[in-house]
Symmetry: C2
Subunit: 510 residues, 2 copies
């Protein structure tokens, strides 16, 4: 019986396993994941932390038992340390027992995901400083908020996750500040649209500082030298200990807990899959975070969220000689095949093709991970599926505001030397006279002189964001504005003005 091994147990990995099973009922399917939780909706974490989703179990799409019922064997807390394409084997270690096994495969899907990119800021391992990547992170943040009742929160990074966490912290009653290094928040939108988001946040009492660098996360007044010495000591321990164990253990502890910390560490009980080397933790401060020091000011911060992007987990693939692409993500073709025969990759560790430019891009998103995983799984099971690519669609909600984009931004057009024209309009989400009619800002970008649609961006209230899907579909179909100007979009007062904002924006070009 042929064996498929999947490395990674979240969106791409479990999609691959499930689709492989549907494709080939005979296949042996084994999934290894470093994490305890599998098949969870990572995008739901901000709403779990806010308490809108009560139990973390609600985020789990399917359990290990449910997969087992489909003859998909899932090994949580197992790390794949080595991949040998020549012998078609992997080396697996149990993070519980330390036991190592060599496992052979006939086909392999790499779905190792991405890790939070933690900026090298002193104090980043203090209690109260969190990244948000997996269920453990979410549980730790919620627990910290419930137990410590922080009154102020600083979010480092103004992308989608940062903005979603603005809502989360605001719901918990924290005074919230966003610090973004770039000249604007929502860096994947144009400056003019991002400015609308920023103004909205400010109006809602959120502090936003752009073009500002975080220098240090400062704790309670402890003698700095003692603190540093303790940090050095732990770092030494960590270097010697099981490679993975790190932050979860240390967070929530003070300097006096260090000895217990060491003990737990040696037993390898605490781990954070995405921080694989203790060196990455930087100066370890053992007192909880109290302030954030930037290059412009000092901010009160009893909680800090680091939302500064991700990097693909591709060390394993790289070490095995698999070709990497843009942003060091695994290069795949439209069948999700890597450069090595029989090995597929999918999700946040892999590249995708941008259907507007034809270029290789790295845009890690849950929805793409699912599609790529399904494609990889089908092909790894002997099928022949194709995933053509993405058009760069993204959406987020922050408090009442909806933010969405697809295709190329003006900035991207400039960078790529694409000749374009652009129009921005303000309209209403519903008929002006209908209750709840609210602003929607829509920016459309088209190629010059062809008139081909290149992209769109939306900032607005309830009902605004998902309008981006019309543009996403039109981009995929290679539409020109001329084909879109009289679209028969649905109209009734609760849903739209008589001319939908989409039509108003497109008609600006004529």
């Amino acid at each position: 019986m042929a064996r498929l091994v999947v490395i990674g147990g979240v969106a791409a990995g479990m999609s691959a396993a499930a689709k492989a099973r549907r494709t080939n009922p005979e296949l042996e399917i084994i999934v290894y994941t470093e994490e305890k939780h599998i098949s969870y909706g990572a995008c739901g974490l901000p709403y779990y932390i806010s308490g809108e989703i009560e139990q973390e179990s609600r985020l789990i799409a399917r359990t290990i038992e449910q997969f087992a019922a489909q003859q998909i064997k899932v090994y949580p807390r197992h790390r794949v340390d080595k991949l040998n394409p020549a012998s078609q084997t992997i080396q697996v270690v149990s993070l519980e027992t330390g036991e190592q096994t060599e496992v052979s495969y006939d086909s392999l899907v790499i779905a190792t995901g991405a890790s939070a990119l933690i900026p090298p800021v002193p104090g980043r391992a203090r209690p109260g400083v969190f990244k948000l990547r997996n269920v453990e992170d979410g549980m730790a943040i919620r627990r910290y908020i419930e137990e410590k009742k922080p009154r102020s929160g600083v979010i480092v990074g103004g992308g989608y996750i940062g903005l979603e966490m603005v809502e989360t912290l605001h719901r918990h009653g924290l005074s919230v500040t966003v610090v973004e290094m770039a000249p604007q928040i929502v860096p994947n939108m144009d400056e003019d649209m991002a400015a609308l988001v920023q103004q909205y946040l400010i109006d809602r009492g959120i502090q936003v500082f752009t073009q500002e660098k975080v220098l240090a996360l400062v704790g309670e007044e402890v003698a700095a030298n003692d603190n540093r010495a303790a940090g050095d000591q732990l770092r030494t321990t960590l270097d010697a200990g099981p490679g993975n164990a790190a932050v979860d253990l240390v967070q929530g502890k003070t300097a006096v807990d260090l000895v217990q910390g060491k003990a737990a560490l040696v037993q390898g009980k605490a781990a954070d899959a995405s921080l694989t080397r203790p060196q990455e933790m930087g100066d370890i401060g053992f007192s909880p975070v109290r302030r954030v020091l930037t290059d412009r000011r000092e901010l009160a911060a009893e909680l800090v969220i680091l939302a500064t992007g991700v990097i693909p987990n591709t060390r394993l693939a790289q070490a095995a000689g698999i070709e990497l692409g843009v942003r060091q993500a695994i290069r795949v073709n439209n069948r999700m095949a890597t450069s090595v025969h029989g090995i597929y990759a999918a999700g946040d560790c892999a590249v995708a093709t941008h259907l507007v430019t034809g270029e290789e891009v790295y845009i890690p998103l849950g929805t793409t991970a699912n599609k790529q995983g399904r494609t990889a799984g089908e092909n790894a099971a002997g099928g022949n599926a194709v995933f053509k690519g993405v058009v760069g669609t993204g959406i987020a909600k922050v408090l009442e505001l909806e933010i969405a984009r697809t295709g190329l931004t003006e900035r991207e057009c400039l960078l790529k030397n694409i000749s374009y024209s652009t129009k921005t309009i303000r309209s209403k989400t519903r008929a002006g006279y209908y209750p709840g009619a609210a602003n929607i800002h829509l920016k459309v970008i088209a190629e010059k002189p062809s008139g081909r649609l290149l992209g769109a961006q939306i900032v607005g209230y309830t009902g605004a964001g998902k309008r981006i899907d019309v543009f996403a579909a039109a981009l995929t179909l290679g539409a020109k504005l001329e084909q879109l100007k009289d679209l028969d979009l649905a109209y009734a007062p609760p849903f739209s003005p008589v001319y939908d904002p989409i039509l108003i924006a497109i008609n600006q070009f004529f």
Copy 2:
């Protein structure tokens, strides 16, 4: 100076006038309309009646004064009685003074709209029986509800307007019954989807009777003969009086008010543009409606809404020798030109081209009226605009439910002998774990064996309906399902499951 005359002052007419002005600043532009109100959002009437929109003035997009400021002269309460293409003249009568004028034109836009199709049911002119077509209707219904406080309402006709009025009457606390002659409500959707709407209404305490015919609208116990005699008397008066004056005057009056009624009538103070001949009122009952008699039962009804469709107002055009098309609507090409040179038609009085079948259709909707009006106005002013057509998109909200459709239904495919396959799914409007995630039912129809998308229908809760726009765009672009199966639709938990329902439905075909 060339002169454009526009007949009709609502969506199509005023769009034509406004666009003509933008196209040609020199043109003399005159608009005649039988109604008092111009440029109003007829689709907003249910929400005005419900009180969600407080003042009827909120429904007015632009006033006569605002048009005057653009050198567009609007004559309300003026009826065009005759159109003479040979001499390029029209005959206009003031409904206020009775004065007749002959007016010449260089180009003409006919935007006479449509009239409510009133079924020939005895008692249809009783107080408490209403159609819903224009602002006067809306004001009369709201006034009646506020003053008479009816406890029960029967809506005859289960199309969009009927369903919107379910919500309106329900908000006013009436017990509501829908009576539909066809075997299903929402006749422009397939039976299976309509059944979901019907079940929802029943669950919400609305009575729904299909395949049931209204036989009579019965009033309070008055001697039937007296009543009939009074009716005959008034009918005679009406026949002799200014043709238009009718129902508004009579409604809300009892038989004893007849003399005053006559007096007002002679002064021509009351009019209902869409009921142009008093004969159409049928047996006039002077006591308010109390019961609806159907072929199956008797229903309490202190208010009756007749929402049984519309007919295009094309007598003027027909008399002038202008070619009519399907459903007796004015035939136009994609420039909105009629069969007579220099004469354009737009809106609810005109046909459109269905972009999926290429056939001529009559689908009178406000959004199409605006687009056709704009096209007609531009061309009548010397421009060269094209309106390619519609794909049959429609949407309505009834209480919490959203209903939408586009393209062809299964029934339409059968009628047209188009080979098709269809899939229906149930999914969620948001991520399953996100608060407010609710059901969405989506039906997709595709051509066999080409795989070309033919249509889609949606029934679901908040956020469901406008998803139809993706299908509307895809239909316009002639997409095949294969091109749509991996659409990069926007995903975040507040907006969608990780696979949007659109993708789930399309992927059922593969």
